[in-house]
């Protein structure tokens, strides 16, 4: 029997801030977290795109060495936001280690910083250096490093899901966590994703001509979702975590209900691994509505994937128009912080939670001239105060993976 699933805590580290109030202020003030690309002494001088969605403020990590020793930067991010939500939630130690709390968390690469150091050692041709590869390098760089460092730090013994699917990594984490609770395999799940500062990812998208290059001297002017003068995505970094709980248990312990997850879909285009696919994306949006049992007109807000690539935004606008017409408000949160890769689904979900609570929709930054091919949907172009009852968060990934999460405002949950 399907159970109801609610979000009871959240935390995000983003290029526009970490604390909830900072992030909300950033959204209200139209703050951009896109900064000049840092020199990495390796790839950066060959990359045409000179911008990055950057976390340029200090984050306090009060982790003991016992836990730090198996963490690369990406796991620090993951454990920080997970520690935040566990501190907020106040779950009992008995429950945390009961096997009924699981973790669905991942990243695009594991830790590319650590991987890079390993490769440097491989190519050094020095036996002394080869033998000095740290015992923990694999633990820091493996794809599921975030998930298992979270389990280790907090003594979590439930199931681990570490789905690494590029830009849908953390939307899958939340979706698969939702299904695990909904169908009774777990009673609660820590879900999310993280990705650290990494020029390798920039280089990959740069070589595919998918990165923004025209605004290198004005980082805050890019990315430009749905704008006629958009020229590609901006890679970013960050982390986001939410706590999902079974509704009755959450209500019984008096937990704040931030939102209810009412629908999730995930499919694959079954073809090209790079090009966006109208049919595949359209199906995803319809599957999520069906899972939520909603008519399209009931959705108030769509948080679009909207990376600001030439093709991607047009296909997404066509898919939205085809399924919803022009009724829901459309925002594009990557305009504030770039594409935070494996963390974008969770971060964008959390920003939607904040907007729902505060009753506003953040406008799409840098949308000066709407591309005519994207003009048939209802872009939010100025800060809009409104009650959002239902929001859909869309994410699409290299590999042809598509996801859609649908949430109901916590104030509407009874």
């Amino acid at each position: 029997m399907a159970r109801r699933v609610v979000i009871t805590a959240c935390s995000a580290i983003t290029p526009i801030g970490y604390a909830k109030d900072d992030i909300i202020a950033g959204l209200e003030q139209g703050k951009s977290g896109v900064k000049p690309l840092r020199d990495d002494g390796l790839l950066s001088e060959y990359i045409h795109s000179r911008v990055f969605g950057t976390v340029d403020y200090p984050v306090n990590y009060d982790f003991k060495r016992l836990y730090r020793k198996t963490m690369g930067p990406v796991a620090f991010y993951a454990c920080r936001v997970s520690k935040d939500i566990l501190a907020t939630a106040g779950l009992s130690p008995e429950f945390i280690s009961s096997g009924r709390l699981g973790v669905a968390f991942s990243s695009t690469h594991g830790s590319p910083t650590v991987q890079r150091d390993i490769y440097k050692t491989f190519y050094s041709k020095s036996k002394a250096e080869f033998s000095s590869i740290g015992a923990v390098d694999y633990l820091k760089s493996m794809v599921h490093t975030t998930a298992v460092n979270i389990t280790r730090m907090f003594g979590i013994t439930g199931r681990v899901i570490a789905s690494s699917t590029a830009c849908t990594t953390s939307s899958q984490s939340v979706g698969f966590g939702y299904e695990a609770v909904k169908y009774g395999m777990q009673d609660a799940m820590i879900c999310g994703g993280a990705d650290e500062y990494d020029t390798t990812t920039v280089a990959v998208f740069d070589n595919l001509l998918a990165c923004s290059t025209a605004y290198n001297d004005r980082p805050e002017c890019t990315p430009r979702p749905f704008d006629a003068d958009r020229d590609g995505l901006v890679v970013g970094e960050g982390a986001g975590a939410v706590l999902l709980e079974e509704y009755e248990a959450a209500k019984k312990r008096g937990a704040p209900i931030l939102a209810e997850v009412i629908g999730f879909s995930c499919n694959n285009n079954g073809g090209d691994l790079i090009l966006p696919n109208l049919e595949g994306i359209t199906s995803t949006l319809k599957f999520a509505l069906a899972d939520a049992g909603l008519h399209p007109a009931e959705v108030d807000l769509i948080s679009a994937h909207a990376t600001a690539t030439k093709m991607g935004d047009v296909i997404e606008a066509q898919a939205i128009a085809g399924v919803y017409g022009d009724s829901p408000l459309i925002t594009a949160l990557k305009s504030y912080m770039g594409h935070t890769m494996g963390s974008c689904g969770a971060i964008e979900l959390i920003l939607n939670l904040y907007m729902m609570e505060k009753g506003f929709v953040a406008p799409i930054l840098n949308l000066d001239n709407v591309d005519k091919r994207c003009a048939m949907i209802r872009h939010v172009r100025e800060l809009t105060e409104t009650d959002i009852k239902i929001a859909a968060i869309q994410n699409f990934a290299f590999g042809g993976v598509n996801t859609c999460l649908i949430i109901r405002n916590g104030s509407e949950v009874d």
Partner: protein, 85 residues
């Protein structure tokens, strides 16, 4: 290196890199300080740097029997004796 010199270096490594607090020479490393197999491998890397020579795979396996700081000191002294033969 003399035993007291080795002891000074090892205690310094354990305090600074492994964040040991007030290590005793006969403390059980796992029970008292949470020292695990990952730490053991990392410490062997530090010992190689300290001694300036590589430790063989067989010698590293012998290190897995170590339980206390005194055991570490015995182990290092044996390595030095072996290399000086």
């Amino acid at each position: 290196m003399k035993r007291d010199e080795i002891q000074t270096e090892i205690v310094k490594i354990l305090e600074e890199s492994f964040e040991f607090e007030n290590p005793g020479l006969d403390d059980n490393l796992r029970d008292v300080h949470g020292f695990d197999s990952i730490d053991a491998i990392e410490l062997l890397g530090e010992i190689e740097k300290m001694l300036g020579f590589a430790i063989s795979r067989e010698e590293k396996q012998q290190a897995m029997e170590i339980r206390t700081i005194n055991d570490i000191l015995d182990y290092i002294e044996a390595l030095i004796v072996e290399r000086n033969k």
